[in-house]
């Protein structure tokens, strides 16, 4: 990570901010073209932003998104695409919920119960991601393919296990099915916010902790250095003594362990059970958030909050008569334009730096050095 100068901060912000402005403009055009007033949307979002409940829900949603983004980003750092965060967190949440809801847990102290639940989720997530890592290092199977397939397998496994004969309980009169409710001692209490019926998840702090560890490990440890080096140039990393196979396994396990955490805030803070209503698709949202936040711990936090807020304004838009799909369009345009913007800024940066170096050294460089 380079030192922060006003210029580097500006360059860092110009891409995401530019993409946001562009996305807002595109959304406005789409709204106008479909006969809606863009200002109604702005209005509805502004209304949503003043409602404490929406803000609390946004923060809670962002917590899951952030954990998912960190899980994805760990792989991204070494150009490893863990598309399987979705399957990993769902499978982990189910098994952790099964454990947390089991009767024998009632006798344990609350702290131990919560810790065991979280640990179990991390282990399951890591194991599920580990399968993809194993396939990659032993058989050369692309992790993109294997994790997508493991997502599908996880779906079937979860469906198989989430039935009354296995991990689930069925309740008379209910068409839902899920694991037994976790009793009081196994839950993580939230924070009451005045004016909001929703509580802020206690596990918000888990996300903060994970974010800090992510930053620390990547920028301050040897492992983080080797992860970055492998991502920048695998051949150079190999020549420097990095075992790429080992890196694949370790980073996939870490990514999967963090993926296992994705469902925990919701499970231990709100639903207390893994049921048909457990949120899906958070693993894929994590990819967008990681992309938007450039794998940076703070950037991803901002992106997760933005995504969480947009998601939670959907009801307000619906109420105001604005098609809620505009949120999806906005998110899509933001991701697309941010990718383009980042690349443009990156190129500009490389050229600007070469020019600066050339200038500082007062020599003319040849084209090959520039284009190399």
């Amino acid at each position: 990570m380079r030192s922060l100068t006003p210029r580097s901060v500006l360059l860092g912000l110009i891409a995401p901010v530019g993409a946001l402005v562009f996305a807002a403009a595109v959304s406005a055009v789409i709204l106008l073209a479909t006969g809606h007033d863009p200002f109604d949307t702005v209005d509805a979002m502004a209304t949503a932003a003043q409602r404490p409940r929406t803000l609390v829900n946004s923060l809670n949603t962002a917590t899951s998104y952030y954990l998912s983004a960190v899980a994805v980003a760990i792989g991204f750092r070494m150009k490893l695409f863990n598309i399987g965060v979705d399957g990993q967190y769902r499978f982990a949440a189910l098994l952790a919920a099964g454990l947390a809801g089991a009767a024998f847990m009632d006798s344990l102290p609350s702290f131990v119960r919560v810790a065991l639940t979280i640990l179990a989720a991390m282990l399951v997530g890591a194991a599920w991601a580990g399968l993809a890592a194993l396939l990659k290092v032993t058989r050369g199977v692309s992790e993109v393919i294997s994790t997508i397939m493991l997502n599908a397998i996880a779906t079937y496994l979860v469906s198989y296990l989430n039935s009354p004969e296995r991990l689930a309980v069925s309740t008379a009169g209910s068409n839902n099915i899920g694991t037994p409710k976790i009793t009081e001692g196994g839950r993580v209490p939230g924070f009451e916010i005045e004016g909001s019926s929703s509580k802020v998840f206690g596990l918000v702090f888990l996300a903060v902790l994970v974010g800090f560890l992510y930053w620390f490990v990547l920028s301050r440890t040897r492992f983080g250095f080797e992860l970055k080096a492998t991502g920048l140039s695998e051949s150079a990393a190999v020549a420097s003594g990095v075992s790429v196979k080992k890196m694949v396994i370790v980073s996939m396990l870490l990514s999967g362990a963090v993926a296992g955490l994705v469902g925990m805030p919701e499970l231990l803070g709100s639903s207390y059970s893994y049921s048909l209503n457990f949120p899906v698709g958070v693993g894929f949202i994590g990819i967008a958030v990681a992309l938007l936040g450039r794998n940076h711990p703070i950037g991803m936090a901002i992106a997760a909050l933005l995504w969480g807020f947009l998601f939670n304004t959907a009801n307000s838009l619906d109420t105001a008569g604005v098609p809620r799909e505009i949120v999806d369009i906005m998110q899509g345009v933001i991701v697309l334009s941010v990718v383009v913007a980042y690349e443009l800024v990156r190129r500009y940066r490389v050229r600007a730096e070469q020019r600066a170096v050339g200038h500082a050294l007062g020599r003319t460089k040849t084209a090959e050095e520039v284009t190399a």
Binding site: G195, L276, F311
Partner: protein
């Protein structure tokens, strides 16, 4: 106008910043701030009806649409103001709860929640706002969404499915029929259980092929005609000659496969023989298991209108006319007597159709 909006936007952004940082605000949206609620006992001349759909919403060609029909009927008859909101994929309880609360805050009363996914949120919001009357479709769980201001509208899909199962067995020449379920959930399993029992009641040695298109949380099985077609074709290839499509919009594919293989199909939820979207394939639809969500919604609204709101579970079974088999197209006229016989036995309790395997 524009200026005030700008101010509100600025205020909104400010609040967003403050809210995310400290979550402190003066607004109060918890508790019974609903405002314009009417007493449950008196007849109301004017109602504001709020309705929250499950994923798919209006236009899903399935049971959300059925609820929409009931709402439309009530609206055109009584002229009430309505507000319809829709669920999104990937939601947690919080977004569903927020949806109901927004309806309550907007002064809507009664509020109708379509689908069991709303069970917990209805329970919570109804508990916080005792003046608002709620209805939830497809769920009645003790301790969750049962309360003095909640009407639980549930259906005996197993009973209706029993009848179409009997019809299938009576019409089948091969003694081999199929069941295509949209998504493997307890609700759809109810259809399967009834259907299989109905088939076996007629022909104990008949074969019933069972296939679910997707597993939760993948709900695309309710809206993927291609998957339905493939599944049905496989069943026809394996000897089935009638397939029951309990799969929402995926049923189209089942009927398409039936038509292509000159086999037969059975519809679900509405009288699918008469659905305009299925005009091309209607001659293969011998009957449909009708689940009258529209009737339930309409009944509920008129009960509130007439000041006759009744809390608790109302089971729409054969007896109540909440489920039935369809006769449009006249393809089962010859066995109608036998089916009605079964129907009477179920109503009288002589035949008991279980909900679960």
């Amino acid at each position: 106008m524009r200026r005030t909006r700008g101010v509100r936007l600025a205020a909104g952004l400010l609040a967003l910043g403050l809210g995310l940082a400290g979550c402190g605000s003066k607004n109060n949206d918890s508790g019974s701030s609903g405002g314009t609620t009417t007493a449950g006992s008196a007849a109301a001349a004017n109602l504001k009806i709020g309705l929250a759909y499950d994923i798919g919403g209006r236009g899903d060609q399935s049971f959300n649409d059925s609820a929409a029909r009931g709402l439309d009927k009530a609206k055109s008859e009584f002229g009430f103001e309505v507000k319809e909101l829709e669920a999104a994929a990937g939601e947690t309880e919080a977004q569903k709860e927020d949806r109901l609360r927004q309806l309550v805050e907007g002064g809507y009363n009664p509020v109708i929640a379509v689908g069991f996914a709303y069970a917990e949120s209805v329970g919570k919001v109804a508990g916080d706002t005792p003046d608002v009357q709620f209805a939830i479709i497809d769920d009645a769980t003790d301790g969750v969404d049962v309360g003095k201001n909640i009407a639980n509208l549930t259906f005996a899909e197993n009973e209706g499915s029993y009848l179409v199962g009997a019809a299938a067995a009576l019409k089948s020449k091969t003694g081999n029929v199929g069941f295509v379920g949209g998504v493997n959930t307890p609700l759809i399993q109810k259809f399967e259980v009834g259907f299989t029992m109905g088939v076996k009641a007629v022909k104990a040695d008949a074969t019933v092929q069972v296939k679910y298109l997707t597993q939760p949380p993948d709900y695309t099985g309710f809206n993927d005609p291609a998957k339905g077609e493939t599944a049905a074709k496989g069943m026809f290839d394996a000897g089935a000659d009638i397939v029951y499509a309990a799969a929402g919009g995926s049923g189209n594919g089942v009927f398409k496969a039936a038509k292509a293989n000159t086999k037969l199909g059975i519809g679900v939820d509405s009288d699918q023989y008469n659905q305009p979207a299925l005009a091309d394939v209607k001659d293969v639809i011998i009957t449909s298991m009708i689940k009258k969500v529209d009737v339930a919604v309409y009944d509920f609204i008129s009960s509130v209108k007439n000041g006759k709101f009744v809390a608790g579970q109302k089971v729409y079974d054969l007896k109540a006319g909440g489920v039935d088999y369809a006769t449009s197209g006249g393809k089962i006229d010859d066995i109608k007597a036998k089916l009605d016989d079964y129907k009477q036995k179920i109503i009288s309790g002589e035949i008991k159709v279980p909900e679960k395997k």
